[in-house]
Amino acid sequence: MAPRPRSRLHVPHPPARPGDPVDFSYVRTSPAGEMPRPEVAAPVATLAPLANELVRVLGDDHRAVGAWDPHLEPDVLQVGLRHMLLTRLFDERMQRTQRQGKISFYMRSLGEEAVSVAQAMALRPGDMLFPSYRNQGIYMVRGRPLVDLMCQLLSNTRDMCKGRQLPVMYHWKDGNIFSISGNLATQFPQAVGWAMAAAIKGQDDVACAWIGEGSSAEGDFHSAMIFAEVYNAPVILNVVNNQWAISTFQGFAGGEQATFAARGPGYGIPGIRVDGNDFLAVYAVTQWAAERARTGSGPTLIEHVTYRAAAHSTSDDPSRYRPKDEYERWPLGDPVERLKSHLVALGEWSEERHAALAKELEEHVTKSWKEATKFGTLTEGPKLDPDLMFEDVYKEMPPHLEKQRAQLRAELAAAAAERGAERG
C-alpha cells in the first residue's frame, strides 16, 4: 500500500536557476485576438475568463487582431514607439552613468516599457498616476523634460526632490504623477483614496497605480482591493508581473496556483491578464478599465505579464539567481521590437526610420545629460544648500528644526574655516 500522503512545506522553485536550461512552460499564453472584449458595464461575474487567459492583440505575424485591437492611428503608434525607445535609451545611459559613479543608484525598466508607455497614453492628462520605481515611461509620455529627471538622479541643485530622495524616486504635481516611495506597495491603497476623493468631488478623473508582483504580497494590496471594491472607486490597479522580485520569482508572491489577475474576481473586481509586452493589448485593456472607472463601473485589476530583463537595480547581479539567457527566451518578446515590427508590417515604419529615431533620441539624452550636469553632480559642480534639509518636514519650520539648522550652519562654517586654515 502506498504511504498516506502527508503535508509538507512546499517551497516554490523557479523553473530555472543559473546553469539550468531556461523553461517558461509555466507561462500560459493565449493566441492573439482570441479573447472577447466585454462591455465595460458587464457584470463582474461574467468577466472571469479575462483573469485567467491572456489578452493579446499583436500576433506572431505582427498584425493586430481581435476585439481588443484599439485601432490606433499609425502616428499614435509611432509616438508610443518613440516613448518606449526613449525610455530604454534613457535607462541605458543612466545605468552607464551610475557605473561611472556619477549617480548613486539606478533602476531600469528594460523589457517592461510597454506597461508604462501604453498605459499613460491610454489615460487622460488629468488622471492621477501612482507609479512604482519601474514606471519611468509615464514621465516620457507626460512630457517631463529628461533634464528634470536627470537632475533628480544627480540630486543636484535642480533636483525636484531637493536632494531628499534616492535616484528614480521622482514626482510631478503638474503632470499628475505622485511621488514614488521606497516602501513597496504603500501607494496602492493611496491611489484608491485619491479615486474615492475624485468620486466624492464628482471629478471625472481616474487614478492608476502600479505594484510589482512581488510587492503585491504586502497587506497594502489587500487594503487597496477592499477599499476599491467597497466604494466602487474609479481606479486602475496594475500588478506588473515581471516574474522576479529581486531574487525570488513570482511563485513566492502567490503566482503558482493562480494568476495575479485572478485575485480581482475574488473581491468582486474584474481582473484582466494582459500581455504586458504587447503595446496594443496594454493600451486596449487600460482604455477599457479607464472607461469602466470613468463611467461609474468601478475598479479594475490588471496583471501585466512581462519580464524584468534588467537587473533589479544597480546594486543587483541577477546572474546569481537566474539563467543569463532567460530574457532571450521569454515567450512574449520585446515590447519595442514588437511594436516596431507591427508598424513595419503596417508599412508605417522602417529600419531606417528606426535607426534615425534612435539616433535622435540618443542625442536628446546626451544633450539633456550635458544640460543636467551643469546643475551639479554627485562629485562636482554646484551643490544643494544643506539648509534645504530642514525645509518641508512641516509646512512651517518649527523652532527645534530652526535650531538644528543653525547648528548645522555653524558646523559647516567651522569645517570651512578649518579647510581654509589648512589651505591658507
Partner: protein, 338 residues
C-alpha cells in the same frame, strides 16, 4: 457659555468644520450611521451625508492610506482609529507615507490628514483598549502629535488640527471624555459641566497646536503632564500641599519648550507624569530636553512617574494606573531632595 463634555466638544469641532469646509470628510470604523463607538461622530452622517461621513472597512492600514490619497486629492480627511491600541496596522502608512510626502516631494504634494484616536486607560479596557502610544509618534518627524485634556482644548485643537496643512495625530484621553478624573476611581465622577474647561463656545475657534498651557501656576516645582494625568497631578499636588506649577503639554510634538523651560527655571524642580509605559516613553524626551536647558537651575533630579513597563493588565487597573498616590510620593521625594 454652553457646557459640553469632551465627546460633544469633538463632535462640535467636526460639525463646524464639515459645515465650513466642503473638503472636510470624516471617516472610520463605525463612525457613520452609528456615530462611533464612543458616539463622537453622532449625527454627523445624518447631517452631512454619506459622501462626507464614511463608515470604513476594518483596516487601519486602509483607513490611513485612503485618507492620504484623499488628502493628496484636495480633501481634509479626519480619520478615526477606534482605539489607539489598533493604530499599529496603520503605522507604516503614517511613518513611511503620511509623515514623508511633503518632504520627499519638496512640498509639491502633502496630505492634511487628522487621525483621531482614543487612548489611555482607566476604563477597564484591558491591554488592548488602554494604551498610550504617543511616544512612537513623537519620534516621527513630519507628523504633529497632540493630546488635549479637556473639552475646550479638544474642540479648539481639533479644529486647528483639521485646518493644519500638516498631518496631526490627535490622541483623545478617553478616561476624561465625560469629566476630569483625578485618579481615584472610588470618588463620584465629576462631569465636565462642573469644570470651567467644560464651557465650550458653540461656534468656531481654535486652540493653537504647539502651545502648552499652565493650568495651575505655582512656584515650588513644575509638573509636566498631559491628558488624564493633568488632573491626577493637580489632585496629588493638592493632597501633598505642594505649590506646584502644572503644565498641560497639550501638544507633544512639536514641543513648546519655552513654556517648559520658563517654568522649570523658575521652580527649580520638575516632575513628569504620563500614563504610557515609562521605558522609552515620551517622559524621557521631556526630561532630557529640560535637563539640557535648565540643568543649572535644577535643585533636584527631574523625576518621572509613568505606567509600569508591562502591558496594561485588566485586573490590576488601579495598581497599574499612575494614580495620586504614586504621583504624590514622587512629588514628595522631589520636594525633599536636595
Amino acid at each position: 457659555m454652553p457646557k459640553m463634555n469632551m465627546i460633544q466638544a469633538l463632535n462640535s469641532a467636526m460639525d463646524i468644520m464639515l459645515g465650513r469646509d466642503p473638503s472636510v470628510v470624516v471617516m472610520g470604523e463605525d463612525v457613520g450611521y452609528f456615530g462611533g463607538v464612543f458616539r463622537t461622530t453622532d449625527g454627523l452622517q445624518r447631517k452631512y451625508g454619506e459622501q462626507r461621513v464614511l463608515d470604513t472597512p476594518i483596516s487601519e492600514q486602509g483607513i490611513v492610506a485612503a485618507a492620504i490619497g484623499m488628502g493628496v486629492n484636495g480633501l481634509r480627511p479626519v480619520a478615526e482609529i477606534q482605539f489607539a491600541d489598533y493604530i499599529y496596522p496603520g503605522y507604516d502608512q503614517i511613518v513611511s507615507e503620511l509623515a514623508r510626502i511633503r518632504y520627499r516631494s519638496a512640498s509639491e504634494f502633502h496630505a492634511p490628514v487628522t487621525i483621531r484616536t482614543p487612548c489611555g486607560g482607566g476604563i477597564r479596557g484591558g491591554q488592548t483598549h488602554s494604551q498610550s502610544p504617543e511616544a512612537i509618534f513623537a519620534h516621527v518627524s513630519g507628523v504633529k502629535t497632540v493630546m488635549p485634556s479637556n473639552p475646550y482644548d479638544a474642540k479648539g485643537m481639533l479644529i486647528a488640527a483639521i485646518e493644519d496643512d500638516d498631518p496631526v495625530i490627535f490622541f483623545e484621553p478617553k478616561r476624561v471624555y465625560n469629566g476630569p478624573f483625578d485618579g481615584n476611581p472610588d470618588q463620584p465622577a465629576v462631569p465636565w459641566s462642573a469644570h470651567p474647561k467644560g464651557e465650550v463656545p458653540e461656534g468656531y475657534y481654535t486652540v493653537p497646536l504647539g502651545k502648552a498651557e499652565i493650568v495651575r501656576p505655582g512656584s515650588a516645582c513644575t509638573i509636566v503632564a498631559y491628558g488624564t494625568m493633568v488632573y491626577v497631578a493637580e489632585a496629588a499636588a493638592r493632597a501633598q500641599g505642594v505649590d506646584a506649577e502644572i503644565v498641560d503639554l497639550r501638544t507633544i510634538a512639536p514641543l513648546d519648550v519655552d513654556t517648559l523651560f520658563t517654568s522649570v527655571k523658575k521652580t527649580g524642580r520638575c516632575l513628569i507624569v504620563h500614563e504610557a509605559t515609562r521605558f522609552g516613553g515620551f517622559g524621557g524626551e521631556l526630561s532630557a530636553t529640560i535637563q539640557e536647558e535648565c540643568f543649572w537651575n535644577l535643585e533636584a533630579p527631574i523625576a518621572r512617574v509613568a505606567g509600569w513597563d508591562t502591558p496594561y493588565p485588566h485586573a490590576f487597573e488601579w495598581e497599574y494606573f499612575p494614580g495620586q498616590r504614586r504621583v504624590g510620593a514622587a512629588l514628595k521625594a522631589l520636594m525633599e531632595a536636595a
